[in-house]
Symmetry: C2
Subunit: 387 residues, 2 copies
Amino acid sequence: MNNFEFHNPVRIVFGKGEIAKLKGLIPRDVKVMLTYGGGSIMKNGVYDQVKEALQGVDVIEFGGIEPNPHYETLMKAIDLVQKEKVGFLLSVGGGSVLDGTKFIAAGALWPGEDPWEILTGKTEFPLLKALPLGAVLTLPATGSEMNGNSVVTRVETQEKLAFGSPLVMPKFSILDPTVVFSLPDRQVANGVVDAFVHVMEQYLTYPVDAPIQDRFAESILITLIEEGPKVLANRNDYNAAANFMWAATMALNGLIGVGVPQDWSTHTIGHEITAFHGVDHARTLAVVLPGMMHIKRSNKKDKILQYGARVWNITEGTEDERIDQIIAATVKFFESVGIQTHLSDYDIDESFITKVKNRFLHRGMMGIGEQGDISPDQVAEILEHQL
Amino acid sequence: MNNFEFHNPVRIVFGKGEIAKLKGLIPRDVKVMLTYGGGSIMKNGVYDQVKEALQGVDVIEFGGIEPNPHYETLMKAIDLVQKEKVGFLLSVGGGSVLDGTKFIAAGALWPGEDPWEILTGKTEFPLLKALPLGAVLTLPATGSEMNGNSVVTRVETQEKLAFGSPLVMPKFSILDPTVVFSLPDRQVANGVVDAFVHVMEQYLTYPVDAPIQDRFAESILITLIEEGPKVLANRNDYNAAANFMWAATMALNGLIGVGVPQDWSTHTIGHEITAFHGVDHARTLAVVLPGMMHIKRSNKKDKILQYGARVWNITEGTEDERIDQIIAATVKFFESVGIQTHLSDYDIDESFITKVKNRFLHRGMMGIGEQGDISPDQVAEILEHQL
């Protein structure tokens, strides 16, 4: 096992009816800005529950944060925060609203010229301050509710970039699984696959003799495989919703990634599909991961075989045969929840692959992945495998 | 799954050589009291590493905290803390030193007449303040390094009582697995069994459809079963030591216990064996747990069978036959690491059982366990089964 630090002070408040606890968690001595997305919280009752709990609190609102939140939109929120002297941000929505809110939190106090620098890292300033924030989660998927990560898209330049800081970890996150009851199939499926691939990025690397981390990762994968279809089949199954929601949180709160190598190249490549073609984040991961497993079958062999044996019970055949079966099982799972795994399923052709390869070359990203050996040429191979 | 809150802000610093990081973690604006036990830290090099990292810090020391730390000793430390105006406590030792340090932290600022009230709960005061503390762990076992629990023994009255508060969670805990290299067999075995039973107390209850919690618990159990014997066989196996250490921390940091029923009656009963006969804590758990599984085989049936199937691969036979096999496998594991499971192994006879039963009756503890149905008579039955 590698050395590590783990520090996750996010307070999780989990269960049906728990949104009412917001009342005791929200600060009362500062102005609060409630951030939200396209308005689904008006229809599913969450907005009313939140407003009820916020009675007596000085609140302004900022809605309209998009999926893959836009830098352009978030800059308007930052203006409002500064003008209104907001002291606390409350994200009411899914991972995109929360990621956007984290960027607002850091951007509002950014000493540089343009908060975009927080994402590019091209700045003389370290990130030293952010407004405190809390979250009411309405969609299990990204794990953003229990980490300090944020991904933001700049429409103008078709770029999707990430930053991370303990400063933007939520002070609290309220997770009421009944929010799942009103989600469309598409969002449930996206959430299941997103969480699944978060685990894979921290697990499907090379062994370092870390059995707790491996088994916890496998526990989350098996739970998603079992509970995801239950949620899709019966949106009112509370336990299935709760288990799906907790699995998604545990998938990316840092715990399964301590002391082990991490990959994240499936995300890095997938972000380009969203940046150029606007495909849902989870769907891009479902496209890239099978290609990644195929092209990196040699480097990742030990962990692919362990994953196959423990998660899918695949133990027969040569190593290569097993790896093929394991990739097929993974693809079948993604497709069984309604998520396609080829670029053509999203009307994307070969010209996209050239654009991605050139962008990676241009950015000097000559080797990504846990071993730093996925070249722009291999990125192209991975995508070609999934055409 | 039941509703829950989870909030664990302890910073874990894990790995070989990490004690040096103490330098950046210790506060420099207050007087620090370093607490320790019987002096093993002088022999294994930990004391020297700690002192090196504390150069320039205003430090006083308090040694001699016993296994099952004594109220009488800790009261002397509280006097010293108050006299010297100590502002931060640094526990350098195992779970007993750390539990004792937590009591010192709370007791030093206790507004009542006697800090013993923190343990009995017979007081008008809530626990609202405690000195901040940090830990350098020298013995994987209790999980105290990542929780707010403490157990203290009062010699005078032969009582062993627990308290818990987020106020006494360590600000940081440094876990360097190389401390395991110099541990005697007895302490390794105690640590393995202690961590194992911590998991069982949160797992072996009744099902509430919480697959993440169940599988995480099973992951820790399997890891202890695999890694414990490796540590005993080769004390210099770094990865085995690291995995054992991380398993013990994960066993009792609250995570596997969220949203599920918890038992803790094995501990409640085991504490009496220590209180009356001074038997090592872990050994008392190894005595009580098999009796508990036997007597509560009907209430705990579903989880015993799940534990047997997933942890021990026991799937053949009638339910009762399987339960017998599962108890036998558990006993065999405890005994394989050198821990005996009968009262007679510790020279304890039937008269002890009467004393415990009377004490439970006297304290009004008419029903313990996750279902509140273990009467003083059943406590006696459990112990009689292990005579």
